[in-house]
Amino acid sequence: MIPAVGQLEGDPPRPASGPGRARLTALREAGVGSLISTAAIAWIVAGAACTVAWALVGSRGYYWPVWVWAGAGAPVAAAALLRATWRIPAGPGRWAGMHAALAFVASALLTLTWLLTGRGEWLAWVLLGLGVAFAVHALLAFADRLPPRPSESALHRRVDELVRTRSGALDVQATEMRRIERDLHDGAQARLVALSLALGRAEQRLVDDPEARALVRSAREDATAALAELRDLSRGIAPPLLEERGLVTAVEALAARSPLEVRVEASVPARPDPALERAAYFVVSEALTNVVKHASTADVTVRLATVRGALVAEVLDDGPGGADPFGSGLAGLRRRVEALDGTLVVAPNSPRGSTVRAELPCGS
């Protein structure tokens, strides 16, 4: 960067690099400094001389050297303050600083004049003018540092972008879950079936060796147990029936597998969006699991309906209640539902039990 002092003094631009430039700037700074110091000493000497002259003349009435003090002091003070403003980095800030310095010196001078000349109303107006001018300058200089006020269209664009990326993230997650479920099905599960088939055939051939036969049999049973666990895991990740036959059928299957008596009332004329179906399914699934945990003998009603453009999934039980609305399972569900602009409410029923209700707006 070109040293601004050099520019002010009308010097030609200098190469903007190397230690030489810094030394030059320091020298010039020192030069300006000593100039101002000399001016200040001259001011004191001149003021003092005038005061002595005033005293010698013997006219003790009007202290006229005050004008010398003020008249000569103002340029010195202005120079000193302007020099101080050079410490501010070049740019609008430095210009505003210079403005402030000059305005300050001018105000001081004017106030002194006002004190010495009859104290009219004019000072207020002049100071107001100076203040407003400085305020406008400062505002312009620092406008870029004020917190930005985004325009409405920019906000709309941002919201659109967030909605798009959020639903994109949900789609990616659902696709990933399906992929994991398929990988399990075609990989580990298929191999375990093949393994247990081989073990079953081996068992058949070990008629003469009951000990080995028992070993193979227990290995086969372990493989079968592993398959049952993987099947439950698959259902928890991406229930095949949900994808193949939709929400109502999948929820009916959930109800059929539940150890509780679960009644399903459904009025969902058309298949909702897959993301909504998944959210509603997992709400019902988690709520049923909760009821089993807290009320092993409760009767449960599951309601699925589209109401005023929203998919509503409701699980009502008549158990002793106790579902913690802020438990980790329900908190996860709430996040899932809210990501689709929906709401999840857990409320007690009268006289007993509780209701978990998720409302998911369609076509959002």
Partner: protein
């Protein structure tokens, strides 16, 4: 017995073929997808088709659809559907599609070799083999609203009903419960009177009546 297999997983297909060959059952053709299955069935007219539920191209429920289509086209064809998860709704759809022998079992049942081969022979003979996981859902006491006839059954009767719904004969049920066939017969008579079903001495007919009752009546009463 002549069998056609539709299974896209090579390891399983080969295992299944070997298992059936060991038991003296002839596998006349194999296919890897639903379309191939229907073509093969038209060409070979086997006694039994063993079908995996998930087949190319979408790997969802093509096998069930193909089995339903096959039962419609060839009403006498016996179909055994294998899947890694069994669902009540598919059982009902398969049963409704035709009158030939029907099996619907979890894939892992193939490892219980003797029972699996029994099921294969039973289905090929026009009988039924429904997985016990589905049957457990069908006969649970709360199914008909908790106040219907299912709730009136004794635990033993529910056990017998379940085994009957799986497609087993009286003799097989007696063997599984370690009781005499006469005792089973007594339970069966009691069950049929509680469910208000006409009794029948023929196994196949009896199973179908039970399954029809379980998948229609119980739902209606709930």
């Amino acid at each position: 017995m002549r069998v056609v297999i539709a299974e896209d997983h090579v390891l399983l297909r080969e295992g299944l073929v070997a298992l059936l060959r060991d038991a003296g059952i002839e596998v006349v053709a194999q296919s890897e997808d639903a379309e191939g299955l229907l073509r093969t069935l038209a060409g070979h007219r086997p006694d039994l088709a063993i079908v995996d539920v998930r087949l190319p191209p979408t790997f969802t429920d093509e096998g069930v659809r193909a089995a339903i289509e096959a039962r419609r086209r060839w009403p006498d064809l016996a179909v055994l559907v294998l899947s890694q998860h069994v669902e009540e709704v598919y059982t009902a759809e398969l049963l409704a599609a035709g009158g030939g022998g029907l099996g619907y079992l979890l894939k892992e049942r193939v490892a219980e070799v003797q029972e699996f081969l029994d099921a294969v022979r039973r289905v090929a003979d026009g009988g039924t083999a429904i997985d016990r996981e589905v049957v457990a859902q069908l006969v649970r006491p709360g199914r008909d609203g908790g106040e219907g006839p299912l709730a009136d059954l004794t635990p033993r009767e529910r056990e017998v009903l379940g085994l009957m719904a799986e497609g087993r004969s009286n003799v097989a049920i007696a063997g599984a419960l370690v009781v005499t066939p006469g005792a089973v017969e007594k339970h069966v008579t009691s069950i049929f009177s509680k469910l208000d079903l006409p009794s029948s001495s023929e196994d196949h007919r009896r199973v179908l009546a039970v399954l029809a009752w379980l998948s229609v009546e119980a739902d209606a009463e709930a």
